[in-house]
């Protein structure tokens, strides 16, 4: 088994208009399938990616956001959302999807995956990674 690296995926862009958000999610799932240590961060307009109940009918695109619900199955449970970005957009954690993971060691107890952190906490987190990928 090769060495496990700590990967942080930073999502900065709005979910639609560019392919970044969806591409990032695909790369994240692939990274996790290869047993890497995966952490996600959502900042700037990236926080809109996690907003629940997207209605994409008007722009003729597929709403890909139900796929975030599968992150827990891929053992991705470190999802950080920047507090300042939420506030600047008039959002709170209640506007976001409720993402959970199930702890096998505690009889599949459901636990929250999303944590709201300040930008300085996020900066610290970035410093702890082996690889930071920005989308």
């Amino acid at each position: 088994m090769s060495e496990v690296k700590k990967f942080l995926y930073v999502n900065r862009r709005a979910p639609y208009g560019t392919i970044y958000a969806w591409e990032s999610l695909e790369v994240i799932l692939i990274g996790a399938a290869f047993d890497q240590d995966v952490t996600l961060a959502f900042v700037d307009d990236g926080v809109f990616q996690l907003v629940k109940d997207h209605d994409t009918a008007g722009i003729g695109m597929k709403n890909f956001t139900p796929t975030y619900g599968a992150l827990g199955d891929y053992d991705i449970n470190k999802i950080y959302v920047e507090k300042e970005s939420l506030e600047a957009r008039g959002l709170t954690i209640d506007d976001l999807q409720h993402l959970i993971w199930e702890d096998e060691d505690e009889d599949w107890a459901e636990k929250d995956s999303i944590k709201v952190v300040t930008s300085s906490e996020l900066a610290k987190l970035m410093g702890q990674q082996d690889v930071v990928l920005s989308f």
Binding site: E26, L29, I30, A32, A33, F34, K62, F64, P66, T67, G69, A70, D73, Y74, E102, W108
Partner: protein, 110 residues
């Protein structure tokens, strides 16, 4: 590429996966299984139906590791292991079962 079913031509990609997911029917599943030399018995349908439900909810075909865990949770530990799933789908539960279920290749499958 395409497969012929009941006089209708269904488009598939170069690896035999359906191009249009909404083309899928049980009859097509049987045909796809035949192309994989697999007999669709009860345990295989169980996995195929599970994958379709998973796709319906999350819009992705799960990686094998994820599938194994999720099946174990839903259908019981005796089924949620690679030995059981590889016995049903010897060339890979992700690959073969997804194809029969009319789904794209699993994300993270190379």
């Amino acid at each position: 590429m395409a497969i012929e079913i009941g006089g209708k031509s269904i488009e598939t990609d170069e690896e035999g996966y359906l191009v249009d997911l909404s083309d899928w029917t049980e009859e097509i599943a049987l045909e796809l299984a035949k192309s994989e030399s697999l007999e669709m018995d009860e345990p295989r349908w169980e996995v195929v139906n599970f994958l379709r439900e998973y796709y319906d909810e999350y819009q992705i075909a799960p990686a094998v590791r994820v599938l194994t865990k999720a099946i174990g949770k839903k259908l019981g530990k005796d089924k949620g292991n690679s030995k059981y799933l590889y016995e049903l789908f010897p060339y890979g539960p992700g690959k073969q079962a997804c194809k029969i279920a009319g789904l794209p290749k699993p994300t993270g499958c190379i």
